[in-house]
Chain length 284, copies 4
């Protein structure tokens, strides 16, 4: 990894939502660290960059995940509690969170942007629709949210001023309250996080964090990120039944051969692997 | 394990706090399952109950944790979100939580009992003191908490009635809102949870859950729980410096021998292990 | 789960390889336990079996993995050490293994069947080819293997008879030595194990264990296993580039609609999800 | 961390046993990274080095483990397979191991040093005794071990020369065969590994690796390592019964007070915490 790339990113605050941020604190390893670890398994030394790219792509598409675990990222993140509650479900990560028992919680709450205040989706039972509500209504809702948050914080402060324990005073603070944490995760598990949280079914607010983190990861491990995009993020899994149906639709399957694939930009190994899949399809 | 003990416990609601509960959903294994797994390691068959107890105690005090992982508990738990946030930090467990994106959150909030509304502890920066505040003040606080919760729920319902997405409508609900989850964990990790959450420095509210779970565990795996109490829960770890100091205080250390220990109720192995510790102490 | 099914399986030895076995020791939960946990998330009660099947299939194909973690299996397995070394790489499981430090290792070694002694694959750098070698050569190899194993065990016994520590005496025993362990794992992680170890690139010997375990799992959680087969085991993942190529081959993509899919046996939800994938394909 | 310290260590081969080694490949973070993460929880900024030491010691003795997870180590290790089999039981780590299916295993085997060839311990059922056997016998054993290893490797090479698959040819190679891996682990879990593997009950061979790693860790995170030694490695856990007995032996417990402890080198917090333990002891 270009040392400067890392230096440029480290500790910079990348804004997310209205008051949140992501800061890269540290990185261990880069694309070459993945190659290095994989080559221990294969008992081979280092090769050219072109071969490194090929190996990384091979590892990704065959779900050989352990070499990607050899790269580690540490972030400082500021995020609303309802986002933190979704985030923490990714268990294979290390977390140190700001403690509302130990310290006074700060007066910062999430208020969605006007255009993001939307109605319940009819299709996706857990998400919001693409349609906006009227700007007037959205503004009224945002204003009311803010007023509520202010009132809740005033109550919190009042309890603190009565010397009520912090751990109790906080219990009526809203899920929109911002918290902060250090979050450390290896690249394999980070890709898994990104796959799930970049998805259109993920809640808008956590998706914004995933997008910012994606950009950082792309800069720091470009070959791995490219492989992630090609083989994981933008791949489609077809089930047995779907494959059976797809098979009927593909009437020129026999025309495909390694040469036609090579001329379409597939590498030799990729060609063979694709042909293998098509043979499975044909023989279903 | 006595089948009846399990049947008696399963699915019964044990109340915790004002509206929470713990329900045992299922258990895999009991004290004998621990012995059985340990004996695979040792290449030995089953023995008498007395020997089982000895083996379990040996495993516990030597922190041979893997046999305790062979027993699994599954609970259904209803708990306030601020407790859930502490609880979820135990990563080696499986969780399915009620989703506020998918379903409407219910109108249930935690309000502390009057005598539990206390001031900030001066000694423990993260806890509350032992002193109560005036009953009048406590009652006023509880009443106000409830009023706030009701107002927040009314706002939530209003947003839902405007068809605002559930995932957004909920963001100003308070941390005192009750949630529910299924929680599955092995006995080794459950003991770790109990050790931390039965501790006087744990927040009162999560301690109440730990106490209820302890009672269940005690009933279902009595030998393991007894060993947990003797060797983990009620043990004291002395640091190097503390041991050096302790050594000076113990002036009759040479009087201790296996016979005196045996007559004090130590088993032969326990006696030897204690003598080993005292020798380390003496030679510091 | 039918109680009898479980009772029928429990503790029966299913032979694997020449001297190995798999024994089911215990199971917690079944298909309905998955549904039960998922419905906590969705805030809904139990439904009909038909709806259970639909829900399980939905969970599987959307990789909602946590409800599958609510079912737990415990096996007693006897396996050669070189298989154990591959197996243990699945970290999300609990293990108690026979200890060669504590106990005398038994005189049991793996010898491959004659027809499984094969040459190095030219295609798969980590596997063996489909071609057999001559029966004579294979027999000679097997005979020699056995002689070597016997000699190594004789040396082991001689060291033991000299009272050399067990932990040292064993170090020249071969990787073909049989060991035993208790292995406990949740269904989600078991499916992951099976996906990898049923694959044709997995070593023949571990595949045999995966096959035996598959049969047990199929019996105990039939709906989940069916979903696993349809959506995970027999699915194909197409990468971005493969999808682009596939798109060109599918010239009747516009003819597909929900009705044609429904009449091909897709459920309504499955149809919609397949159409979504085809739209992505079309718009690539 | 002093950058030079890290640069000095990185990639240097530290010999272990006859042919093994430990090489530090990379480190993320140092003592200050632990402090930094802990202070996010406490909502406080950085302080003096003296306060850093105090905080690290506080975290260690209260088993606040998550800040120690913020430091990550990556090693390249060459070790005999029977050691690798003990090592891999530490599941919270990332591993890439040399593959005997993919590559030809190298002709390197562990032979114990003459003085380490010992008899079975009578006390410790899983270890070797402190007594040596005669030098002649030990030499004879070592010579024989080597001859066996050479013969086994010759058989391996012969199978390879017959083009038998690598994955099969290797199965009679001994547990003393050297393998290699990349191993990545966070500091908290590394301390746990060291605690167990530095223990006198750990097998001599793995202890040698733990000792070499300890020296590296001590250099790189000196404050944390000191705390580890004082509060974890050299601490003694006394069970409830042992404490009851100890209590009788301590007849001047009332003489201890904060002043006497302060003058013995305890910090104020340490004094208070020790007094708390003594009060528990007194009141048992």
């Amino acid at each position: 990894m270009d040392k400067n790339l890392k230096e440029d990113l480290i500790s910079k605050e990348f804004k997310v939502l209205d008051k949140g941020f992501v800061r890269l604190i540290d990185v261990m390893g880069d694309d070459s660290a993945i190659v290095q670890a994989a080559r221990v398994s294969y008992g081979e030394g280092t090769k050219t960059v072109r071969e490194d790219r090929g190996l990384i792509r091979y590892l990704m598409r065959h779900r050989h995940t352990s070499p990607f675990e050899m790269v580690e990222f540490k972030f400082h993140i500021k995020l609303p509690i309802f986002v933190a509650r979704q985030w923490i479900r990714h268990r294979t990560a290390n977390v140190n969170e700001y403690s509302g028992r130990y310290s006074v919680i700060r007066d910062e709450f999430y208020i969605p942007e006007i255009q993001e205040i939307r109605t319940q989706s009819q299709i996706n039972k857990q998400g919001r629709s693409d349609e906006s509500i009227s700007v007037e209504l959205a503004k009224a809702i945002a204003t009311r949210m803010e007023a509520t948050q202010n009132r809740l914080y005033a109550e919190y402060e009042e309890l603190l001023s009565l010397n009520i324990a912090r751990e109790l005073s906080r219990i009526n603070l809203p899920l929109s309250t911002y918290t902060e944490w250090y979050w450390k995760i290896d690249l394999h598990n980070l890709f898994h996080f990104l796959k799930l949280r970049l998805d259109k079914t993920a809640q808008f607010e956590i998706r914004k964090y995933a997008e910012v983190i994606s950009e950082m990861v792309k800069t720091l491990v470009p070959l791995s990120f490219e492989a992630f995009e090609d083989y994981l993020l933008n791949s489609i899994i077809f089930s047995k039944n779907e494959l059976l149906y797809l098979k009927q639709l593909i009437n020129r399957i026999d025309e495909i051969n390694e040469d036609s694939l090579l001329s379409s930009g597939f590498s030799r190994t990729e060609s063979r692997e694709f042909l293998d899949k098509l043979i499975i399809l044909k023989n279903l």
